[in-house]
Assembly symmetry: C2
Homo-oligomer: 596 residues x 2
Amino acid sequence: MSTYIAPLRDMRFVMTELADLDALSSLPGLDEVTPELADAVLEEAAKLAAEVLAPLNKTGDGQGARLTQDGVVAADGFAQAYRQFSAGGWSGLSGDPAFGGQGLPELLHAATVEMWNSANMAFALCPLLTAGATEALRQHGSEDLKQRYLPQLISGAWTGTMNLTEPQAGSDLAAVRTKAVPDGNQYRLYGQKIFITWGDHDMTDNVIHLVLARTPDAPEGVRGISLFLVPKFLLNADDSPGQRNDVHCVSLEHKLGIHASPTCVMSFGDKDGAIGYLVGEKNKGLAHMFTMMNEARQKVGIQGLAMAERAYQQAREYANERVQGRLAASRSGQAVAIIHHPDVRRMLLTMKSQIEAMRAFAYVMAADMDRTHRHPDDSERARHQARVDLLIPVLKGWCTELGVEIASLGVQVHGGMGYIEETGACQFLRDARIATIYEGTTGIQAADLVGRKLASDGGAAMSALVAEMRSVALEAGQSTDARLAPIGTAVAASAQALEDATKWMLSALSTDIDGALASSVDYLMMTGYVCGGWQMARAALVASKKEAAGEDQEFHRTKLATVRFYADKILPKVQALQTAILRGASGAVDMSIEQF
Amino acid sequence: MSTYIAPLRDMRFVMTELADLDALSSLPGLDEVTPELADAVLEEAAKLAAEVLAPLNKTGDGQGARLTQDGVVAADGFAQAYRQFSAGGWSGLSGDPAFGGQGLPELLHAATVEMWNSANMAFALCPLLTAGATEALRQHGSEDLKQRYLPQLISGAWTGTMNLTEPQAGSDLAAVRTKAVPDGNQYRLYGQKIFITWGDHDMTDNVIHLVLARTPDAPEGVRGISLFLVPKFLLNADDSPGQRNDVHCVSLEHKLGIHASPTCVMSFGDKDGAIGYLVGEKNKGLAHMFTMMNEARQKVGIQGLAMAERAYQQAREYANERVQGRLAASRSGQAVAIIHHPDVRRMLLTMKSQIEAMRAFAYVMAADMDRTHRHPDDSERARHQARVDLLIPVLKGWCTELGVEIASLGVQVHGGMGYIEETGACQFLRDARIATIYEGTTGIQAADLVGRKLASDGGAAMSALVAEMRSVALEAGQSTDARLAPIGTAVAASAQALEDATKWMLSALSTDIDGALASSVDYLMMTGYVCGGWQMARAALVASKKEAAGEDQEFHRTKLATVRFYADKILPKVQALQTAILRGASGAVDMSIEQF
């Protein structure tokens, strides 16, 4: 039976040494955030993840959510676990204190999101979507809507959903057809939405849908989409759930993974229309939705990290237990646990080094988000916002692609046992596989990165990033610790490659947009690997100093070895990606359809 | 509903132009093999694959094989399909004519194996294992055993299995414990085998197990293992199946994929012992098994190609049908089929170019196997044997790793629909995932490549290979067709990288075996990519000439574009692998277990 133990030591290292948790406490509203508080929160979260959520992961996978005449029923134990989750205040961890949230930083939130997803990704999707709906409502909802709905979403008494996709409108939301017909101060919605995560369930007594739809007079395309709040149960005068609204889950998808997370086909207005309330401005729905999508993309990126961590823990455990074969260097010797075999070590370190790189990248970005939200200085806020805008698609795309690769390596470490469902390793692969798809595929993230983010500032945010990377590489190169030199060299070369590829990309964007897009996923992945290298080099600098100072030497020595592995074995991919990027579409856009 | 259409045009191109089918007909026993015969065989096979096997792929996945009181029952339709398969003579396609086989070349066999596996990998495993058992019996069995069992295995009247693995003996067969106790001219076997593919079923009236076991006086380790033939039903005097033998499937594994292929736990000797007959020499069982394992590894490599092809066909079809989004270059325009989007083209060509590289590599090797078996000249046979021995682990490892990657890309092309089981794309990923594991994991193949194959001849076979690659690169570089120059350059650089990495590896093998093994999978993958590039460059040379001569210009122009994409976008990985290889274990072998 696979267990999960939150990697608290590395989480703390990243939060304290790389994401500068201490400095966050000087931001308005975060003055109570001390390292002690952070530790206490992490430890409580780790306990809930290990003791309550992780044990339901496999049973939930086997049983799945199911659709009954009374709606969707969550897998056994999920409702009870969800009540514990809400009671612990986890739903509102970073929520607005004005509506009952704890107002803790996104940095701390990111670490808990990693834990929930490592423990039980299907479960964790429910609060993930709720947080997105909450944020959209907080930013764009009327005061009345906020007063009536936010406290319950933040407390976790109710959950939230994001209703975007329709059969003909996946990545292209311009094609949304769901209708919203005015009816006094409210609207009646008619239409069908698909792929609605946790669109219905029996864990709470209301579900609040945020829905994209068109009013009758709306213009065509993306400029005619509005955002509506549609509760499963309409509220009584005292704000308690009352009459059932005309929105129903009509079927569940049969998916590769995340079986315990119901993926609903939602039908709006089969009878009199589903009553909904406009959120924000009419015809600005897409922009409003994007504010919640950015946060959702960040969290889905963390899902990639989380699945990789879980797969790693299970693979490491198996490699320690499974005795098979002898070491080549000592043919006559005893059979050994497979963790002694060089190729198994290669696999485990390929997992571990990239997990630590992803974690550093993700948490540092979460701290940037806190600065974006809270920094008193306008120019500092803007600087951090530019960084976050640039890197959100990289976090989402790169971490989820690695999540799949690493979960697959986890299967491989198990050999034949990895292919057997009872072992549990394949569930992580099956679950992780969705993350490169939902909240915008990797291709969509890459188009966002080059077509919107790079293009919008002519590469300024990327230049600033590369400059920071260079100074870290320089510092590593000049260190008296000889172990840092090769790391500095590798990161400097990677930063140069990223700069060269960026120049090419900016030029291609103006002369050959199709060529730019054909190389965009390679560019996104390259940016991810280089960002990982940058953060790992920062980690190595810290580790070297701490080790020299005699602090927790085993941990810091291991960190240095792990960074070295990343520099030696992972960063070379950057070279290959650079070459591939500069070759552009390589004729791909000129081929006729018949030639495929 | 996903269909499968055998890629006959490319198969013919590879067989004729790259694997030199014409020349094979000059080999002893192959004088009747004309291009016309080959065409007729391929067309018949394509029909059976498309019309009989492919339609059962999805239903078989959903239903799976099941264990009943009377043994394993295959999924609906499989028994009927198997009878058609046998009746068509497909079981004995390359089988020995002395026992009823058709004696056709491995080259043709390889193409049919690709088709069966693309159409229905779970089904195709049954003849795949049967062929392995047949070959072991043909090479090592006594005349009496061959007379009694071979004709029925070759005709497909009975099927065969390979019983190697035990719970404590996976990759390490030295740990095999199954006992074989002499009883007159026969043996009685006692023990349990796991992961036995098609270990029992109701499609034929006998199943012939080839089983590794130890006699009571056997030495420890690999030198004490013998090979036995254990039929499910003992034969009557007239060689018809008679008394039930004491070997039974006691449970089936619940697996990630290939659900319709029963993976059995086989129990030998629960009552009086399972009666078995020694095959070949006592204590030489492992060597005998290896002869069939080489062929099985070749076919599993082809499974990787086959799953990739099937995933590609389905992704291409979806990309042609699914209308979503507009082209960046024409914002105001109509929504288009997603095959027009540059990133979708990148994904499809990443699939297609590597599939064609794998096919060329696999078929050329199959023709080498024919020369190995049949060439009248000893030195030619030896030369081809050295090539085959060197590259079998590369074919197995590289093609199966790409099979998983490409099947995963196939899911990605579908976006959200790819994650839904009904679509069928995830089945190819689930099915493909086993192929990097069974018949020796990629790590085992890599250890075989560097530890056995490279080490055994000091890199001589690899040098000969690199020299051939260089001359192809040179020819491309000197062509008057300007499109060939960049291909030649890329292949020349790749060949150089392979040579450099080989030198490093040979040196590491003698000084730092753990470092060599830690880089062995990277080295295997690099060899695969370079071999693919070499064959693709050969394909480009032919295509250029044929196009200039006015022959089937559309096909040859497409081939040139596909090769260019491979050179531009895939071969850069070789650089990265070279860098990673030369960095050795990067400290991985020095880390303590606690540091993971």
